[in-house]
Subunit: 337 residues, 2 copies
């Protein structure tokens, strides 16, 4: 039988109204009682039913957004999409930057809980077991944005990273390139590292170019600082490349800058394809061919999805994948034309 | 005589403890009473004294940050600086993007008030009279970041924009340029528009180049969309320019892209100097000469300053100006070498 609010009150040795207050205005409950109630909720796996939930929780019309690295221009249009959907649905957004620091993340999550926000949008990063446990404990509606979890049943909105990388590399192959390299994120990054590398390898394998699969340099995270080093390592390792697939536009912009300094012409000598389609991609010299992520739509859709959960509406697709697209600009050359 | 909490209670026809609750946990007070209390506070211009304030207000260790346009990479390092200082001083940041929408701004400010955040960092935008009135009504500590107010006595941290623009143009003049143009923000923008245009004009005047003062195109706001149009208008208006000062790196990157497309060589035919020194400035082709704002330091210092106000420490300088610096890279040419 499903546990009720009475069971929680009994186990925590407090009144029903105290349990309600813990969920409704935790600040008004003394710490020791609050801890007992939360422990009881946790132990019993108590979840208020839809009606009770509506009665107990006061909607604050606020959504908390967890961003791992606010400096990354990738998030700009994600946030724009989130904001437009929030405006439409009557929410305010609170954006928190964790700088990929677990302590900060947990502190923000608890802050969200205390402020009684209606739900969380968790962007980009993997959901590690301890993160999941914390999210479960706080029992707030959540949608993963530009990330997903295969281990846990958490709703998510992103592109299909493996397929997108495959399409980028296939575009180069279809353009006649046979000596292809890659600047990749480390394989330990299960969202944008492992998946995109495997898309690269699958495209090579399906076109009998498996000898290219070691033409790879792995870099850690999103950065403006390392592209020079990455580019130089890749080109000294594989001096005869005619095309490079980079897993972010920032890295691609760094590569363009490096090649220009070396006097190597893009796309005449080397073609470069990026990933993301940040707004600056169309202002580079030359303009960057890239895989467009529907960043605005990912942000927009994630708020709609979170709203559906908050409002207890039906939302049949747990893990949603939005379409990507190869945008051909001037940084790639078709050898077969 | 200064009004006391008793006077507020009397005027609002509520108990003293209700007034205290309005300030301490406004959510726990029914709307009608809350409105009466806030009105009474407003009418009496009641301000709790330092001691009473400490007793009444509970510190939440949370700072609210108002950003007008999160897409602008300029804010990336400002936020980083804010975060590092917050970490040091024990605050969490809540970042809100207003998209320069007054309704959103006011809704966030009221949200901050209800959540009892400790203070506000208000970035970039002018403080209009109705904004000031709202801020006064909410009586939350505030620091203006990358903006200031000459009308109101609000603490602020920014660079000296007029001087920075002057220095950029003087750098071009000292490099031997005599045909100088400018891509400027509109003069109605009192922070980055009017000031930087006047720095440009002052540098021209002091070097007998006043004939250049009409070589200007004004653009609205920060955008990746308009630089082509701005660049093309400027160059058809003044085809013989040898150098252009643009008031943001984004606009400068757009100009580099436009010039490249037109087959005009930078810096051989036209020198370009930007403003801000965003991280991408050192990855452009060619690398961008620019005026560096100490963005990280501005963010960092603004949190320290806000903390001083929250903690009622002495902070002798109301309007702080941090030093800027011209960074010479490859997009400008010295004609006199």
């Amino acid at each position: 039988m499903k546990p009720t609010i009475k069971d929680v009150a009994k186990l925590a040795n407090v009144s029903i109204s105290t349990v309600s207050r813990v969920m409704n205005s935790p600040d008004s409950v003394v710490e020791s009682k609050k801890v007992r109630v939360l422990d009881a909720i946790d132990k019993l796996k108590y979840k208020p039913n839809a009606l009770a939930r509506g009665l107990i929780y006061k909607k604050t019309n606020t959504i908390g957004v967890i961003i791992p690295d606010i400096r990354n221009p990738y998030y700009a249009d994600i946030i724009r999409g989130m904001e437009d959907a929030s405006k439409k649905l009557g929410y305010s957004l609170i954006i928190c930057n964790t700088d990929r620091d677990k302590k900060r993340l947990f502190s923000y999550l608890n802050n969200f809980y205390e402020k009684q926000i209606d739900g969380i949008l968790y962007t980009s990063d993997p959901v590690f077991p301890d993160y999941y446990h914390e999210l479960q404990r706080l029992r707030m509606p959540i949608v993963l944005v530009s990330t997903h979890s295969m281990e846990y049943d958490l709703p998510s909105v992103k592109i299909n990273d493996e397929q997108a990388a495959y399409d980028a590399v296939k575009f180069l192959i279809d353009s006649g390139h046979r000596k292809i390299g890659m600047i990749a994120f480390e394989l330990t990054d299960g969202i944008a590292g492992w998946t995109r590398y495997h898309g690269f390898v699958r495209a090579l394998r399906e076109h009998d170019l498996e000898e290219c699969k070691d033409n790879v340099v792995f870099v850690e995270g999103w950065t403006y600082e390392t592209p020079d080093a990455a580019a130089s390592t890749l080109l000294s390792k594989c001096p005869d490349l005619s095309a490079v697939f980079t897993v972010s536009d920032e890295l691609a912009i760094g590569l363009l800058c490096y090649l220009n300094e070396q006097g190597i012409k893009v796309p005449e000598q080397i073609s470069v394809i990026g990933f993301d389609n940040i707004r600056l991609a169309k202002l580079t010299v030359p303009k960057l061919t890239t895989v467009a992520q529907p960043t605005y739509e990912i942000g927009y859709r994630s708020v709609e999805k979170l709203n559906a959960i908050i409002e207890q509406q039906e939302d049949p697709v747990l893990r949603e994948y939005l379409p990507h697209e190869v945008i051909e600009r001037a940084s790639t050359r078709r050898l077969n034309r």
